[in-house]
């Protein structure tokens, strides 16, 4: 099975290990993983800020890099959500491109969706004897409908102590440019998120999006919290490596 990795700019620049863990896990289950080096950004920051033309340029480049892929997998529900939810809208006035882009959209999966629904993998053989809580990232949950997939992967980990996060479905306040434009409202949101994480007394916070994790981690560090953040792919890979 040929898979093209859509790594996302945030993972590329700040969290390359989440990308590497995704690649290594997919390879274990027989995927022939390639990485189109010309990929840049899905265009979401521009699109969500109202700059449709800039977003379309990014989307065209994305299409150029992924048009020929059998499967496209990304360690981000937000970037995958952008592709699924808004790419067709970007090319609504160009029926030829629309058809091509639609075919690419249909082949695009978020990491946990791909693992569970396409590869049929829930138990990667991981062991993790720690207290863990999980934040469901908004775009994965609401734009892609990811509900059960990450939980199935987490529940299959041996010795893990999964604690439910209070108000888990409340946004962490990231929202891309929102966190800079209205940074104080965003700051109040992430502060409440951190409070709930601390209430769980978890050692690790897991999510499926580095945007949320970067935001939450930044606030946790400011609070002097000891909670560590990890992308779901990182947890699954590192807790099952050398097996």
């Amino acid at each position: 099975m040929k898979v093209s990795l859509f790594v996302t700019c945030l993972v590329d620049q700040f969290f390359p290990d989440a990308g590497a863990s995704t690649v290594r896990l997919l390879r274990r289950y027989g995927c022939d993983v390639s990485f189109p080096p010309g990929q840049t950004c899905c265009g979401q920051p521009a699109f969500n800020s109202g700059y449709v033309n800039a977003a379309r340029e990014a989307a065209k480049n994305h299409y150029k890099n992924f048009a020929d892929a059998d499967y496209i997998v990304s360690p981000s529900g937000s970037c995958t959500g952008m592709v699924h939810h808004y790419y067709r809208e970007l090319f609504a006035d160009d029926p030829v491109m629309l058809e091509k882009v639609s075919a690419m959209v249909d082949k695009t999966y978020e990491f946990s969706q791909f693992m569970v629904n396409v590869l049929g993998v829930e138990d990667v053989g991981a062991t993790f004897p720690h207290r863990v809580t999980y934040h469901p990232a908004c775009h994965g949950m609401r734009l892609l409908g990811i509900q059960e997939e990450p939980m199935r992967l987490l529940r299959a980990i041996r010795d893990i102590e999964l604690i439910e996060l209070p108000k888990a479905e409340d946004c962490c306040g990231f929202g891309g440019t929102f966190s800079v434009k209205l940074s104080d409202i965003s700051g109040a949101m992430v502060t409440e998120k951190s409070e709930h994480i601390e209430e769980t007394r978890a050692e690790y916070l897991i999510s499926t999006d580095m945007g949320c994790l970067m935001n939450i981690n930044g606030n946790l560090r400011r609070r002097g919290s000891k909670v560590k953040i990890m992308h779901l792919a990182e947890l699954l890979y590192h807790a099952s490596a050398d097996k």
Binding site: F14, P37, T40, R142, G218
Partner: protein, 495 residues
């Protein structure tokens, strides 16, 4: 909070963020409503199917609004009611003023009506020397505090009990015990006097039923029924989109609205007005006037991106789940309608699109509003579309325009994009250093520039020596590992 609000969203939010009473009160109430909603909507069976039905009925009604509004008007007039159409807020105020003058009005009793807030009715009536009394408990509290509602269903959501006690003691010049029962009793006594003396009773309208020309009001305190029964003249003010074709459709909405709003299976009072009192009837007003307000709504009709916002049934569920509203409450929005629905509706109906356009940015685009909406209005998509219109109209800041022009150009080519990103990473690594472990406030370069706001609440991410692009050079030839776990054996695809 009322008359002199700061002009920008950021400044208004700043006031709210420093008001611990307000934030606690908003959290307390929205938490309770969210819990109840979950319970009561779950009890209905397949809630998603109910939502879809609600959506279909509203889409159909709004698509045929001219027909159903015509039918409603004809039937209401046949029953003896007067229907007035107001193009804007000014016309609506004038229509009400004329009716009030013709009745030589001294006391004007109102039940809760957001539409009367939209046209700023009270101010006009008070200037004429008319005593306006809000008879909904929450609205009355807000009126006594000289404020505006901060929630479309729970106007005084931002007030706690002791603040309410103070307001009532000032109003009644008497000491009151800090108990809900005592405070409600005081309000009830005062309301009774108003109901009996009022010359005009004014209500809003939850749904106008086209097939019979009826106006249906949902209330929990019974005040809407008093206001629409006791005074000799009744005025009903409604937005032009507040119509439903039939009573069967009302049954659907009577299930969706209270559950979404307050988690009640049914509203306590559901009152229907079918025109003025008829011969032989014991109660009801002698005259009924319905003011149907456009005020920018007809401009939304026919706009494919936004027409669905007219499907709104004003339940407030999107406010109760919104993480932004949760932190700052309603007044921070500065508009009559706050929360996600307000952030979409206000820029659409406002004259000053440049000023109100900024409300579309009061969202992290998390999509909770859409999931909560009983008629499935895609508010999160609309917020993005509003931002696009704001940009297209040229209202966005110059620095942002330049930044995204650069983004668009760079995103075309990985060479440009990645070298820019690499350069930024290099700067962070070598000039700012790793601040990921710091626990105190921002300092040095980190506090400067566009990320200053970010740094007030968060440490920047740790800089990385390598990007994934760099890492791939090693990773691409790495051999595959053997799968472990019970699902390992499912691997039959081959590499």
């Amino acid at each position: 909070m009322t008359h002199q609000q700061p002009k920008t969203l950021k400044k208004r939010a700043d006031i709210a963020l420093h008001d611990d009473f307000l934030r606690k009160a908003v959290r307390f109430t929205t938490d309770r409503l969210r819990g109840r909603k979950e319970e009561s909507s779950g009890a209905l069976g397949d809630w998603e199917e109910w939502r879809e039905r609600g959506r279909q009925v509203r889409i159909h009604t709004v698509a045929n609004l001219d027909y159903y509004l015509g039918e409603f008007t004809k039937n209401m007039e046949t029953a003896g009611g007067h229907v007035h159409f107001a193009a804007d807020a000014d016309e609506a105020r004038k229509i009400v003023a004329e009716i009030a003058d013709s009745k030589n009005t001294k006391i004007f009793a109102k039940s809760k009506s957001m539409i009367s807030e939209e046209v700023h009715l009270n101010h006009m009536l008070e200037e004429k020397g008319i005593k306006v009394v809000e008879t909904d408990l929450g609205e009355w509290i807000v009126q006594l505090a000289h404020e505006t509602p901060s929630h479309i269903i729970i106007p005084a959501i931002h007030k706690n009990k002791s603040q309410i006690q103070e307001l009532f003691e000032d109003e009644g010049h008497e000491k009151l015990a800090p108990e809900t029962k005592v405070l409600a009793g005081f309000a009830r006594r005062r309301m009774r006097e108003t109901f009996e003396k009022a010359d005009i009773g004014m209500t809003g309208c939850n749904f106008a039923i086209a097939e019979s020309g009826s106006v249906v009001m949902f209330s929990n305190e019974g005040n809407a029924r008093m206001v629409s029964t006791l005074p000799k003249t009744q005025i009903i003010m409604m937005g032009m989109e507040r119509v439903l074709p039939t009573w069967v459709d009302l049954e659907l909405m009577a299930n969706l609205l209270p559950r979404s709003a307050t988690g009640q299976k049914l509203t306590v009072y559901m009152s229907a007005v079918n025109g003025p009192r008829r011969a032989g009837e014991l109660d009801g007003p002698e005259e009924v006037h319905v003011v149907v307000l456009d005020n920018g709504r007809s401009k939304i009709l026919g706009d494919p991106e936004f027409q669905d916002v007219l499907n709104c049934i004003r339940c407030g569920a999107c406010l109760n789940v919104c993480p932004v509203y949760r932190q700052v409450g309603g007044h921070a929005y500065g508009s009559v309608y706050p929360g996600p629905i307000g952030a979409v509706l206000t820029p659409l109906i406002a004259e000053d699109k440049k000023a109100w356009g900024e409300l579309a940015y009061a969202s992290s685009l998390c999509g909770a509003c859409y999931v909560a909406c009983p008629v499935k209005i895609p508010l999160h998509d609309m917020l993005v579309h509003l931002r696009r219109r704001h940009v297209e109209a040229g209202y966005s800041p110059v620095s942002e325009k330049i930044a995204f022009a650069g983004f668009g150009a760079a995103a075309k080519s990985s060479g440009v994009f990645n070298s820019a990103a690499n350069a930024a990473r290099w700067v962070q690594l070598h000039m700012i250093g790793d601040r990921s472990d710091q626990t105190d406030g921002p300092h040095g370069l980190e506090a400067a520039g566009p990320v200053a706001g970010w740094s007030n609440h968060r440490a920047l991410p740790s800089p990385q020596k390598e990007s994934f692009h760099d890492l791939w050079k090693l990773l691409k030839d790495e051999p595959a590992e053997t799968p472990g776990g019970t699902d390992g054996k499912r691997d039959t695809h081959g590499a």
